[in-house]
Subunit: 282 residues, 2 copies
């Protein structure tokens, strides 16, 4: 997603530096017209806006505040756009540390995946100071078609992203149960898919991921391990609040990951349920 | 829903008899231009098409084959349109008994609720013989805007309705979890609603029932007890196939019913989760 966002920025005529741990990616980025940077600090030098696309809170902490982290080199007042899905409490803490270091922050988890990042069509669920939004506006516009502005408080963006991931994860697992039961009952999955997409049982995820199960194509637009992480954030944040469906979905994704499906498409949780039910999916 | 379908038939100029256990309903039906019938047999006399709108398989069995049941009086070749959500195995058995009695059958569970029935806008998920569909066509058209024709085999309609109810029930429970966690995190529920409806976490049920939670309005368009029944059908049919989300949702609806919420809107499962989490919904 970071790659996609970076090339969308270049396409919009915005001078862009990019840092990645894979050297080959930096070479490609140079060929695409970007400035390759070997460290986050090097990428953030002279930046007005710094996008952070990493996997989890630990990585975010490292690229921001670690050795050769971005904050060490960024000019005062640079806007950090935190695009990683991390626990809301971590988003709040990191934002406070950035502000203490003289930076501005937008808590800005995204949805849309690598493809939408590359076409500049991300959805950004964001909270932060108005001045930060103003300064980052051209960059945000280059990478997204929709920005939800949810007030000034850091954490709100991450909280609503967490709620979205709760629903998305449960809906994928529910789709998997539906497809497995339909298979067991001898139904034609394409027919089930068509009827459900047009009925009260429909969901964005059923429509999107159900197609993968019908076609037996588990190309990972988003992987099982993403939901191990994101439903883990739900579980960790919910603490003692009992959310049985989220827990059941997390258990399925965790089992799928443990069985070696972590890098397959998230819809591959259906394989776990199919095994348990003794049915064969397409 | 039976009332709604009956007045939709009248509005289409189709002579309609109606049977209900509530005498007042029969009086209203007479005033609306229908022919009131005190028994199913009386309603089915001379009928070309017989709609069955009851609550469960036991009631369907009774109104069809019990004393003064419809089958005893219906002419040979009458088309029975079975609109109740019942276990697919029951639909198959009842259809076989109807065929053995010289009747035609459409396995035709519906969705849309009483309101859509009254406006002639039901969705019908149907399987049955082509000749039965032909004969029932004007009546089906009067009560619905969409008929999914899913082949000849009875049971297919009921199976796909069951799959739809699995998803619908799980999605309602997931919506409830999302709203409870959002409340616990201090988020504005209207904002959450607006963002999710436009994101990958969206579902038909989130959009429809989430609004009820945001507004604190639990008017029962469809009640908790409907999902106790329909997820019970899923559980019974799935037998030894492990469907953990459906089971978790069924447990929530069952607990809500046990706590006296059975006749409230199905979205009232959110109250159970809110209690457990110690938060107060609107």
């Amino acid at each position: 997603m970071g790659w996609g966002a970076a090339v969308s920025l270049l396409r919009a005529g915005i001078q862009t530096a990019g840092c990645d741990v894979v050297e080959e990616t930096l070479e490609r980025f140079s060929e695409a017209g970007g400035r390759p940077a070997v460290t986050p600090a090097e990428a953030a030098r002279d930046a007005d806006v710094v996008f952070v696309f990493v996997v989890n809170a630990q990585q975010a902490q490292a690229v921001l505040f670690g050795g050769r982290g971005a904050v060490s080199a960024a000019p005062l007042g640079a806007v950090f756009v935190l695009c990683t899905t991390i626990p809301p409490a971590e988003a709040v803490r990191i934002a406070a540390d950035l502000v203490a270091a003289g930076m501005a922050v937008i808590d800005a988890p995204v949805s849309g995946g690598a493809a939408k990042a590359g076409s500049g069509e991300l959805t950004i669920i964001a909270s932060g100071a108005a001045k930060a939004f103003d300064k980052a506006a051209p960059a945000l516009e280059a990478v997204s078609t929709k920005v939800f502005r949810l007030g000034e408080a850091p954490g709100v963006g991450s909280k609503i992203k967490m709620i979205n991931q709760l629903l998305a994860g449960v809906h994928i697992a529910a789709m998997a149960e539906a497809m497995v039961l339909a298979t067991r009952e001898g139904l034609d999955l394409q027919t089930v898919y068509d009827v459900i997409c047009d009925s009260a049982g429909g969901s964005w995820m059923f429509e999107n991921r159900g197609r993968q199960v019908v076609e037996g194509d588990y190309t990972p637009f988003s992987a099982v391990d993403i939901f191990v992480k994101d439903l883990g954030i739900v579980s960790q944040t919910a603490a003692d609040a009992d959310l049985p469906l989220s827990q059941a979905a997390l258990a399925l994704f965790t089992q799928a990951s443990a069985q070696g499906l972590g890098r397959e498409a998230d819809a591959a949780v259906a394989k776990i349920l199919a095994d348990r039910a003794g049915v064969k999916l397409p």
